[in-house]
């Protein structure tokens, strides 16, 4: 009797394991299909329309239906991401230091949920707030229309803050406490300890935090689109409207005829975005493995 019931349990387990395995396989399938479809569609611009890759990547001459040189958007994406990481990066690391080294419990209990809420706020809402609060502010202080790199950069900095903060805090917390104790015992101040000992020791974790922040910034679409002005021109300075790869996609895909060169160009941009995002994460992975 024990044996028959055990046999039944084993049979159940066999079925269950097969189903679980299929689910795991589905993940691989989804990933593969995504790569295949985006690569196929993304390469049509070059294979079917015979547009040169070099022109796509480096030409600033953007004629949607004949010569879609995407350099404008690439530069736009790079600029806005650079801005975001230069502001949001140090700010985020600083708050990460604050949370792991300075904050009393009561403060953590307020700040951490606040950060959680920030993570949850949809990007459209950030874009909307940028539109309603930030753009008029810029307009009033500088006299420009208000849209452009500055607005988009600030909005993006705020959006990547939670990511950078949480990962930085983790990086600091995972350091051995004896590092801090050793430095303090030698008479260093807290700040000296942070700058000379903790920051360098946590550098790999902080690099991961920054790279993930960059990855988030590169792919962000709608918040940026609402405040950047969406003009097909290079970003001349911080106050002129411009565009990024994602904003251009979302702006023009609706109007692109299926099979047209514009549509192919937009998918090529999407594929480029995918490659950038994935390679960032692969870098993180390999950097981690080397350190470990």
């Amino acid at each position: 009797m024990i044996a028959t019931q055990a046999k039944r349990a084993h049979a159940q387990e066999r079925i269950a394991t097969t189903v679980l395995r299929m689910a795991a396989g589905f993940v691989i399938l989804a990933m593969a299909l995504l790569l295949i479809y985006l690569a196929t569609e993304g390469l049509k611009l070059f294979v079917v329309d015979h547009f040169s890759v070099f022109a796509f990547l480096f030409s600033g001459d953007y004629q949607p239906d004949t010569h879609p040189g995407a350099a404008i958007y690439i530069v736009g994406s790079l600029s806005v991401t650079l801005f975001a990481i230069c502001i949001g990066g140090p700010f985020g690391i600083a708050v990460g230091i604050f949370l792991s080294e300075l904050a009393p419990l009561r403060m953590s209990q307020i700040l951490k949920p606040a950060i959680d809420v920030m993570v949850g706020i949809p990007s459209v809402v950030y874009g909307w707030l940028g539109l309603q609060l930030l753009v008029p502010l810029i307009r009033n202080t500088t006299g420009s229309p208000g849209f452009g790199l500055l607005a988009a950069g600030i909005v993006l900095s705020i959006m990547i803050l939670p990511t950078v903060i949480t990962l930085s805090e983790d990086a600091f917390r995972s350091l051995s406490p004896t590092l801090k104790e050793g430095s303090l015992a030698l008479g260093a101040t807290r700040w000296q300890t942070i700058v000379r000992v903790l920051l360098p020791s946590a550098s790999s974790g902080l690099t991961v935090a920054l790279i993930l922040g960059i990855a988030r910034a590169v792919g962000e679409t709608l918040a940026v689109q609402l405040v950047i002005g969406n003009a097909s021109q290079f970003p001349h300075g911080l106050l002129n409207p411009t565009s990024t790869l994602p904003t251009e996609i979302v702006q023009d895909l609706g109007g692109a005829a299926q099979g047209s060169m514009l549509e192919h160009a937009l998918f090529s941009m999407a594929f480029l975005l995918l490659l950038i995002a994935m390679s960032l994460i692969l870098i993180v992975r390999f950097a981690l493995r080397k350190r470990a």
């Binding site: 024990i2 019931q5 055990a6 046999k7 039944r8 349990a9 084993h10």
Partner: protein, 256 residues
Amino acid sequence: MIAADPKTKLKAADVDVFYGSFQAIKNANLAMSEKTVTALIGPSGCGKSTFLRALNRMHDLTPGARVEGMITLDGMNIYAPEADPVVIRHRIGMVFQRPNPFPKTIFENVVYGPKIHGESNKKRLDEIAEKSLRQAALWDEVKDRLTRSALDLSGGQQQRLCIARVLAVEPEVILMDEPASALDPIATSKIEDLIGELKRQYTVVIVTHSMQQAARISEFTAFFHLGEIVEFGTTSDIFTRPKEKRTEDYITGRFG
């Protein structure tokens, strides 16, 4: 106290246990008689727990662990390819060093085994729960709070609950890995009394680091040292007339 010709319930013959390339148990031979308590004693790290876990195929769950030799239950090799570890663990139960109740109610803990094995009749489950908890000398203390969380119990109570949990599946052999080492003296003596009762019905094999405990509760004792069974015999023989010098040294406290 010991039957004139005790029947062997569980037998280990030429058993080796490896963790990767490290050999933890060398050439172990041991016959455990039914309805008796066999104590496994020895200094820490000598392999007593490793040997115990081989008896119910717990090493199957450890990647890299390998058991060689033969272990038989009622004459049948438990490591035979057609042997089912699930069935074996049903017949050979185990109580661990630290109590590990599930984060469920007391009742749910006790009937976990029977439910897994297909029992769904509510009345039967209630009976099994009461019977097992009585056998584990816990019924009176928990009968009014069966629906409370098992984690609310004290350490000693939790351990008795774990024993009840094993008893509920009606095994034939109960393996105990230092069951009282995490408990206070009062709880320990309750567990020892319990073992005295259990051996009337079950075969018990207990690992203990306390020689006094072994002397108090067991009929047979095996002394382990550096992965080998140095000596085996009746408890009184081992403690009063040890044949091996190493055994004598351990018993008299010269090491371990």
